[in-house]
């Protein structure tokens, strides 16, 4: 008999405890408070039970549109709010090659040719070479450097410079 009373008391205590825990409202209700900045998707129908609700389709469409835009932006790696990227800066156009410049280059190249075939390369030749090299266009410069280097390496040019030949 005593066992029955004890068991019944235990069941009663556990049962009432479970009921109290289930029915008690959460102490922090801020999570359920709607944020005015977020569009309300589901409007509770007044006068109806908690289970019935009406979907706000316009808000839903706006939200889907917003999410789609965000996804597209993330995929393309660009921000639609940002201004369109400026076109790549164009390289400065090359200076026009006037007949005077052409003649100057031609003279410089001829003088380099003459210096290299002389067979000796001293400080004076090095100085003149540097001066004329600065006048040449990239292609002519390449040719002049190649000409001098090959002449040095083949032994066709005797070096007498104080230090490097170019």
């Amino acid at each position: 008999m005593n066992k029955l009373i004890a068991t019944g008391t235990l069941v009663l205590v556990f049962g009432s405890g479970a009921w109290i825990g289930y029915s008690a409202a959460p102490s922090d209700t801020s999570a359920s408070t709607p944020d005015p900045a977020i569009p309300t998707l589901v409007n509770r129908e007044r006068g109806s039970s908690d289970g019935r609700a009406e979907v706000d389709y316009s808000a839903l469409r706006a939200l889907v549109r917003e999410e789609m835009n965000a996804a597209l932006v993330a995929r393309s790696g660009s921000n639609p709010a940002a201004p369109a990227p400026a076109p790549a800066a164009k390289a400065a156009p090359p200076e026009p090659v006037t007949p005077e410049i052409q003649a100057k280059r031609r003279d410089a190249q001829e003088q380099i040719d003459a210096m290299v075939v002389q067979g000796t390369w001293g400080n004076e030749q090095r100085f003149n070479f540097q001066q004329r090299l600065a006048v040449l266009d990239p292609e002519q410069k390449e040719h002049a450097l190649q000409q001098l280097t090959m002449a040095i390496n083949s032994g066709a040019l005797q070096l007498s410079t104080d230090g490097p030949p170019f």
Binding site: T149, M150, I152, N153, S154, P164, P165
Partner: protein
Amino acid sequence: MKKLPVIVSAIVAFGLQSAAFAGYHATALVSVYKSGSSGSASGSVQSARYYASDSVEYIGCSQSTDVKTSTYVSCIARNSSNLVLSCYSSTANEQARDAIASINTTSFIYFQADASGKCTYITVGNYSYYL
């Protein structure tokens, strides 16, 4: 009796001298290898200048630019037998230009030149033991 301070000073001076040049040391005199018009050369800047018994050899590299568009690098070496090898490149990449810019008194330089005089390989190593 007056000789004693002189001897002591000399011993102290020698002792300090050895302390100033402690650590491993290596000498790399300039060597030039040529095969036709191409070849390779190597050597350390310090060895060529201070440890060579001749007054002939040297090694080095330089960069030149017209400041606007064109830049070229060149290297040249001459060994004790007066054998010279040079190379140039007007298309040197940034790494090559940086390597050449880093050349100093501790530098060991190695370069290769092809038959057209173009640099095909440049090495610059900076080590304490070349000082």
